[in-house]
Symmetry: D2
Subunit: 373 residues, 4 copies
């Protein structure tokens, strides 16, 4: 397989980031199939045409079913609001196309199961867009843990916090609607933290959670003094247990003033610990118990060529890669996995565990109980 024709649905900022990744993946990762920008779709024809022109897509459309029915298209990229994921993904799989879909999977666990089932019954490749998995820093954290550098794991403590809804004056948006978004901070931000946590700790076996909506209603925009109830979580806390006795603490919030992309965690083990913070995505802090106690301390490791695939972008450590580079890595890895017919974590099937955790958190908060996963 030398090339894949790509159809992209959605032209918001994450859609643009997809387009950039498709554009650059093969230049930086020459061993992967070429990705041809075949068609871009947006309900708004001006937006569709604009992204088409900027990124040299072959054509634009306002009807996503156009992409599904276009036999030349091999891969569909879904960068739309959560409520649309399921229908589009299922249609794409039915049409025999590979699917790259933004997280979370849908607005409910049922939707996620439908998507996973459909994917399993087909021969196409699927990937959920958990781009923070792809950072050279996080890949190194995984390597450190798997190689036993910090020994048996004691516990994980993580947060994913942003400030985009911290202002009580921020208007109601689709993200506040249960129908449109499903959960709030949980699905939008917490899903990223869950994905990283599970990649390190394995699947949790049970959890207890607490959800709160700290701003119960928000203005609906415009000049009128109307407001709408916020239907999902602004903040969620959870505690989790794993099979081997390790535990985790989890917080996600969209109302954390000052936090722009605080996807940060600590992992503690028998022989050391690791700290990571996406707001300083090119740094890893590693503490190792070692003999020289007077010089013990966290090392601030700046990512570089020793942390693949950083070197694909620039050979010099400390020069830094950025957010869009993570998308490029993700897309290159997906293209490679399609070519090699080897699934890449997290497929739609893999993603179920994340969705189950989210659903269990919602249930736990409602029932005030520990919930099995």
């Amino acid at each position: 397989m030398n090339s894949l024709n790509v159809g992209l649905i959605g032209t918001g900022y994450i859609g643009k980031s997809h387009a950039l990744g498709f554009r650059n993946a093969r230049a930086l990762f020459p061993h992967v199939p070429d990705l041809k920008l075949a068609c871009v779709c947006d309900l708004d024809s001006a937006l569709a045409e604009s992204l088409r022109a900027d990124f040299d897509f072959y054509r634009a459309t306002t009807d996503w079913r156009d992409i599904i029915s276009d036999k030349s298209i091999d891969l569909v990229s879904i960068a739309t609001p959560n409520a649309l994921h399921r229908e589009m993904a299922v249609a794409a799989i039915d049409a025999g196309k590979h699917v790259y879909c933004e997280k979370p999977m849908g607005v409910s666990l049922d939707e996620a199961h439908m998507m996973a089932q459909k994917a399993e019954q087909s021969s196409v490749s699927t990937l959920l867009a958990y781009n923070y998995l792809r950072s050279p820093a996080f890949a190194h954290v995984q390597k450190l843990v798997r190689s036993g550098k910090i020994g048996r794991l004691y516990f994980f403590r993580g947060v994913c916090e942003e400030e985009y809804m911290a202002d009580p004056a921020a208007p109601f948006s689709w993200r506040c609607s249960r129908n449109m978004a499903g959960t709030g901070a949980l699905g939008d931000l917490g899903a990223h933290l869950l994905c990283l946590m599970i990649s390190i700790m394995g699947s949790p076996k049970e959890l207890v959670a607490e959800l709160s909506t700290v701003i119960p209603s928000r203005r609906t925009g415009g000049s009128a003094e109307t407001s709408h109830e916020v239907e999902n979580d602004d903040v969620a806390h959870a505690m989790l247990k794993f099979d081997d006795g390790a535990t985790a603490s989890f917080t996600t919030s969209r109302v954390s003033w000052g936090r722009k992309n605080k996807l940060a965690f600590d992992i503690y083990g028998e022989k050391g610990s690791i700290h990571f913070d996406q707001e300083r995505m090119n740094e890893i802090l590693l503490f190792e118990k070692d003999a020289e106690e007077e010089n013990n301390g966290y090392r601030t490791i700046l990512t570089g060529a020793f942390h693949p695939p950083y070197g694909r972008f620039i050979p010099s450590a400390g020069h830094q890669i950025g957010f869009n580079d993570l998308k490029t890595i993700e897309i290159a890895m997906f293209a490679e996995s399609i070519a090699e017919q080897k699934p890449l974590f997290p497929t739609f099937g893999d993603g179920i565990i994340i969705e189950k955790c989210i659903a269990a958190m919602v249930a736990s908060a409602a029932r005030r109980s520990w919930e099995p996963i």
Copy 2:
């Protein structure tokens, strides 16, 4: 009241820190009663005599009841293992002496209630030694919150972590025994975090917790290959709810490699947020939502004369005070509260709320349920 005669029980590191505080309080806080080092006690006569000589105590003893029966002594300072607090404190109150007692109150909620009841029935002053409350930085955090600087509070997220038991090879100690210490990390470290949290957020109304002992047994020292079951928590996570809808996430651990005194928290509110970390005890991070969005960001405030009582120690900001200075502040404040007959938070009565939270955490972990406070 111009002076108070002090009897100190315990000569370990915290006892020494008490001695230093008693020695310096009035020099730095000239308005408080003079504190005379009357008697120091340790079961080990050499240790007692050594601290006596170093700090010019009037006399030393190996029998703590000597201090209780010494009519000249006005104030008893208790710096012994947790299991001894109750008996000593009760005896001192019965003898009409003011009591300054290390946290936690005892090894059970029952013990704490006995102490509080006894204190309430008497006219003496009592204070629990939660010295981190006294830092100029924390005092400023309280002032910021109370003045409404960050508005209505959304949530609190805090940790208190050290590494002193992180090594599986660290031997069994009295801190691992339920009889001697009560809880593990919870009482030793978590109590500090609870105290700070309650000072900011008020009393929680309910909580759910999870306790784990990640190193189930430890060697009992010596050359023999004997070991003892660890009887209390290495790690505790909890989630808490407050009356006004605010929530909290809480983690404490004595097995966190790399953490020396990680008593750190974030507070998020309607108009801003605050971060504090005792490992950088002379710094406060403050984020304020303000008009100039392009220059938004956390301010790193270095404590100085604007943050009383820092100026008592040195007028220049950024020159820093240390741990022992916190004890000096605490002791000066207690001496002042005795002189003015105004209770200082947390008295034995106030301390009950902290002990209730700890007991509720233990119960919650056992019952796997939310527990009211």
Copy 3:
């Protein structure tokens, strides 16, 4: 002008970064001319062909004069060792092509003057590749200074340090040769710091410098035990004066263990100060004298949409851009400047001031004297 055909000379890491920038500039900055990858050149035909294939250049060549003589090419990009800059740039200008050239200009001030003179006599656009100028963070620093946010400037203190030659076992390379590289750390790293400093402070009027070669000879590689004298500076310090009485301190080094890209500076003024460090290129530290002294402190500003052109890459603050994005910005700005026929700082003419400073530093160190610029 709708498009420009680009010829790139050099396929090393910086050449690849150029290629990526040319590839992406117009997708992210749709108002600039389209940049067509016409031809790539490397002496090594395999390298040339490889970059051609990866980035879809129209053709590859091993003879850079091929690019000069290709009438379809509008813009020549020079990413070769310093000793080749002059000849290539002059030939390109003579052929009527716009020139984008890596810094420093050449291996001597004479070479720089030749290049500037040639550029001035022509009507083509020229730009020196000082990409750190282009970061949204640095652009914001410039805006803060120019808007008077920190008032009249007192002094500037800056460093540009890396570790690539810190190991005495690192072999001799072209960068250690006076003929091939001119100066050492000065031209390779210090030039970047000079460019940023001059952008903020204006042109210095005089300076005094000190150069040292801390590893006087290095092995010449291979298994043989041969070595070669290092002919230029490992470390350079300088002090500079400006017309308005402000001063600067300057250090550059290629032997600073632990420093990967430590291009960092402090600017102090009447009303505040600014700190920036390229190793955390998405952060700016700003201190403002203001009324509320108890909350004074450096603000850590995370770059975002308020700091153009960050928003071209991603709208969310704290998500971060990377090194290659700086090249994309630079190339887009150059393309725009060509289209609008407005010079972009630093043209070859502008670059002379940087080269003069470097030459004055070399002279000052030799003569042990202050040198005028």
Copy 4:
């Protein structure tokens, strides 16, 4: 020798810090002579009496010659403005008393020489109060360097900056007067940096410097609109050379907004580097070149019991000591050196090298030349 009677001249903040150190030295360092607070002096009798009462000095006086003539006093502590150091120190030595004197030595190199000569001709012990030398963190830096941990030294880069005169509205004070203070930032702040630098690098052999007064005149206080010329440096930069080819860059400033106690340096060597910043006085950053390149990075070492004499104050790392603790260490070390009749660096004789550097900086700036030391 079991005890020393102390006379303290000066009750400003540094005098108070002396008093606290004298009060606590022996409690924390039981092997040193007891230090008895015999007499405190201030021109202002209320201030003298106040410090006497607070710290239990035996008596107070307004005439410093009272202390000199008091035969019972063994040690004189000088904490007065610079212009008074020489006369007081010489008189004390003449009276056979040990002298502990604040830095800098006086207002000129001549004064320093007089003091050193007088000390050399006597049998008393002298010590200059460079308290930052005494921090456990700095002691560890010295140990690391001396043990060869970072190998042969390449260069040193240091700053000592505060903001106390940054505001153009800050009034003229004795520190701005050449007669009263000698130099400005140089003697007040730069002397500290010189002392640390020399302790690490040895004596410099030559230097070149640049001094600037960025606020040429300041109001003289009161309501009247009068002002006075500032007679010494607000900012000083220097470059230094050492015998072994190593170099240093040096900046000191009293006009650096945001800097409270920025006494910070980097030391680079063949095998690693060290960063230290007094604003985080309980932390040391160490970079070591080592085999595991993927985990290379600066370690943040939190001081603890492994860094003597930290353990005298508290055994637990990360709990932190403060500024006044440095004075206590210094005084304990001086008391020990008196008892053991072993000189402690920097004696008055040792201090000459610092004063020579300052004088050479002033001369270099005036002559615009390199000056030998």
